[in-house]
Structure formats: structure tokens, C-alpha cells
Amino acid sequence: MSMHETKSWPAGQGTMLPASMESWNHKHILDLDDFSREEIDLVFEIADGMVEILARDVKKVPTLRGKTIATMFFEPSTRTRASFELAAKYLGADTVSLDAAKSSVAKGESLIDSLRTLQALQVDTIIIRHPCSGAPYLAAKHLETKIINAGDGCHAHPSQGLLDIYTMRKQLGDLSGRKLVIIGDIMHSRVARSNLWGTRNFDIKVILCAPPALIPYGLKQWTENCGLHHVSIEHDLDTAIEGADIVMPLRLQKERQQSGLISSMREYIRLYQVNDARLSRAKPGAIIMHPGPMNEGIEINHDVAYGKRSLIEQQVTNGVAIRMALLYLIAGGKIR
């Protein structure tokens, strides 16, 4: 079996919900494939209110007082975990943070048993990151507790997808007719995948740009099957970046490169690094985003990462507001 077959693009459901604000009834947040445009707009509207709280001296509201939110991360993370925990704290919830490496998982406890223990501890929401695609779905199936997917394998990272689109909207306004280029390790990127689902109702063009070996086998077919007609693939970065409004290089996941998908790091940098020369081909006023963490000098150079077009730090701030909105929305109750 070739490597491409073992790492084929995960299948999505692509179900569309009835489009109205009253239709918000996500108990869990697992991926953006079941989010309507209206639901995404609702998340954004609430996030606008949360941004104001983040700007206050006293960043605390009592909304989720008495609720407990647990983060359980089976993979390393800085920003996502801190972002979720601060979002919960700013809304007044209590948080408990479990590090899988130091928990009973290290003694051989199964995922479901660990999560059941949290449920028995009366935790209201579990935020889970796991190296296996689908782990949060398994959790949602077996538990009564609400589950938020904070990244599962190469599959999905819904809160990142939302904060990316939110950041684009805040900077560019209407996204109609805009062109987003996502560059690099598409194969392993749950961020790219959640962005594809998230942008599908925004009349935006998405170009995935990577060497052929970093594009999952069957991706073209998959996007067509899922109705993601706004997505195309381009292997040449100079062509892809032409006239782009949003340029989003992804982290080259060095821990997942042992299998020789790229011939050499030097070649990758030469062909796929986003630098000033390449950026000059994009639209004037184009913005730079990166889901982090960055490998500075590999997929992005220093000047671009910290230049005036970079929104990388805004993404992090907006991420807290988006996660506050999500925690608020799944806390129970229907939207009036």
C-alpha cells in the first residue's frame, strides 16, 4: 500500500442545516462541515461583543459562573490550549487542564475511560485535542458532556477555521470574490480542511498550493464530492499567489516529514517560502495569516511574518473572542 493511500483525505459529511439563527443547536463543536453561513455569522456577531471584553481592564464577566471546562490535550499546544482556557476564565467558568502525558493515559487508561472520569467529575464541557482523526467524535458518541474539538489528527480544527475567517472579515470586510491561498503542508493540515468547510458559503476562492506529495491523494475528487466547488489546486506558488487577497502559509510539520514527502528543506524554502518578492505578486493590501506555530525562515520569512500586512497576532487575539463565543453558544439554551 502506498503512502498516499494510507493518508487519503478524510471523508466529510457536508450536511447543510436549515439556515436560520434559531437553528443553532450544536451540542458539540466537532468540525465546520455542519455549520451554515447563518450560524457562522452568529458566532462572529457574538465574538464582536467578546472583543470588547478583551479590551477591558477587568476581563471577566459572570456568564459561565459555576460551569467547569476541562482541556484534555494529547498533543502539544501553546496557543489553542491557552486560548480556550482564557476564554473560559474570561467568561467566569472554572477550568481544569489535563496533560495526557502526565495523566492516567500514561498508565494505559483508554481515551473513553479518561473522558468518562471527567464526566463523572461533573465537568460541563471537554475540549479535546488528539493525534487521531475522529477521536472527538468518538468522545461525543459515548459521553453526555459537551465536546469541543481542538484539533484531531489531520482532520479538523473548527475554532481555528472560524477565527481565520473572522480575522479575514474584520480586515477585508465583505469576502465576496476574494482569493485565499493556503500554502504548504495541506496533507497534514486540519487547519486547511476546516478553512475549506468554513469558507464554502462565503463566495470566496480558495487555492491550495503545495508540492504534489503534500497534497493528499484524491483531494480534487473529495472537494467535488463534498460540494466544495470553490477550491482548486495549484503547485506553482508564483502562479497561485497572483492577485491573492489572503496569503496563508502553513507550518511545515517537521514531526510528520520523516517519510520523505519533500526532497529537501532547501528546495522547499526556494519554491514555497512566502517572502517579500512573492508577496509583491499578491494584491496590494493583501493580508498574511498563519495558524502558528511558525517555522520562521521555512514557510515564511521574518520580514513577512512581522511586516505590516501580517495579521498573525490579531489571529491569536481574535481566537480568544471566537472561543468565548463558542463556549457561550454551547452553554445551553436556544438563541432568541
Binding site: 439563527m21 452568529l42 456577531e45 457574538i46 464582536d48 461583543g49 467578546m50 472583543v51 470588547e52 471584553i53 477591558r56 477587568v58 471577566k60 464577566v61 459572570p62 456568564t63 459561565l64 459555576g66 460551569k67 467568561l91 463565543a325 457561550y328 453558544l329 452553554a331 445551553g332 439554551g333 436556544k334 438563541i335 432568541r336
Partner: protein, 185 residues
């Protein structure tokens, strides 16, 4: 459901002018006062009051808007939830006389939430409450300092305030529904 008009556009204007005078009288002038309207319809009412006093006293009066959604006492109950909107109080409320403005004063729970929301933003010298309509049925020990009109109501009636900035028309109406418990104002 039957609708009866209680105040028309010029009634509302007269009521606001009277409240504005009461506020100035009570505070011995308009120095150091600020208005904060509770979303949605308290905000245009606060702006109108500020404008009247500005013309009267020739001073600038800051106006802010307060969204109390995150401070409500029913957020995590399994009933209903409101869309969070933006709070915008672009001035420091500390040491100011803050006049909180709302359209309908009912159970007092919105005002309780608004007091918490306001106190998170600073420490005002005083907080005073101005409402267009007081319909009674308090559930908390809270009273208004300035009342446009007292309208005794039954719980199955609904008081609806329309303001031109939001609803394209100025009026106050009472609606009677058969049975059913009303939402908390």
C-alpha cells in the same frame, strides 16, 4: 392580541424633556454626568436625553451603550439565550454620575444585570436609573430615580416601546395576550 397606544411621538418627547429637567435638578446641573443606555431601546433614549440636556446646559455629555446579555441570570439555564452585542462605553465612568437608561422597567432583573455590567467598567460616583415606562411587578428590591410614565399592567400584557431610531416610529403600546407568562423584561 390587541394593541392599545399609550404614548405617541409628542407624548414621548414631552416625557423626555421632563425627565431631562429632573435629572439636571437632582444633580444640581449637568457637570460630571454621563448617560449609559441599555441595549437596544435604552440607547436612543439615552442619546435623546443627553441631547436635551446638552442644549439646556451647554455642556458635552458622554453617552455609552451597555449590552447586558453576559450578565443575565438565566444564561446557562436551559431556556433561551440572547445574541451578545457590543458594549460601547468610550469614556471612564469612574467618579461620574451615571444615568442608566432603559425603555421598560419590569422585574428589575435587567437592571440588576446592568448594575453588575456597569460596575465591571469602573466605580461611578452614583448610578441613577431613568426609565420611560414603569410597568410594576418588581422581583428585586430596585427602584427608578426618574420615571416617564407609570403604567400598571397585568402580567399577561406586554408593553412595547417603539423608537424611531430602531423601529422607524415613536410610540408606546400595550399588548394583551391571552394567558401565557411574559418574558422577563
Amino acid at each position: 392580541m390587541s394593541e392599545k397606544i399609550l404614548l405617541n411621538s409628542s407624548d414621548i418627547e414631552r416625557v423626555l424633556v421632563r425627565i431631562a429637567h429632573e435629572i439636571v435638578e437632582h444633580n444640581k446641573g449637568a457637570r460630571n454626568i454621563a448617560f449609559v443606555g441599555i441595549k437596544t431601546r435604552g440607547v436612543p433614549l439615552a442619546q435623546r436625553l443627553a441631547k436635551i440636556i446638552q442644549t439646556m446646559e451647554q455642556v458635552d455629555i458622554p453617552v455609552g451603550s451597555l449590552d447586558i446579555t453576559l450578565y443575565r441570570d438565566d444564561v446557562s439555564s436551559l431556556s433561551f439565550k440572547h445574541v451578545v452585542q457590543q458594549t460601547n462605553v468610550p469614556f471612564d465612568i469612574t467618579n461620574k454620575h451615571v444615568i442608566l437608561v432603559d425603555d421598560v422597567f419590569y422585574t428589575g432583573r435587567s437592571i440588576r444585570a446592568a448594575l453588575d455590567a456597569l460596575i465591571d467598567l469602573g466605580r461611578p460616583e452614583t448610578i441613577q436609573l431613568a426609565v420611560l415606562i414603569d410597568r410594576g411587578h418588581r422581583e428585586l428590591p430596585i427602584r427608578a430615580d426618574f420615571v416617564g410614565k407609570n403604567i400598571p399592567t397585568a402580567r399577561n400584557e406586554e408593553i412595547k416601546v417603539y423608537v424611531s431610531e430602531v423601529d422607524a416610529v415613536d410610540k408606546v403600546a400595550v399588548m394583551r395576550q391571552e394567558g401565557g407568562k411574559n418574558e422577563h423584561a
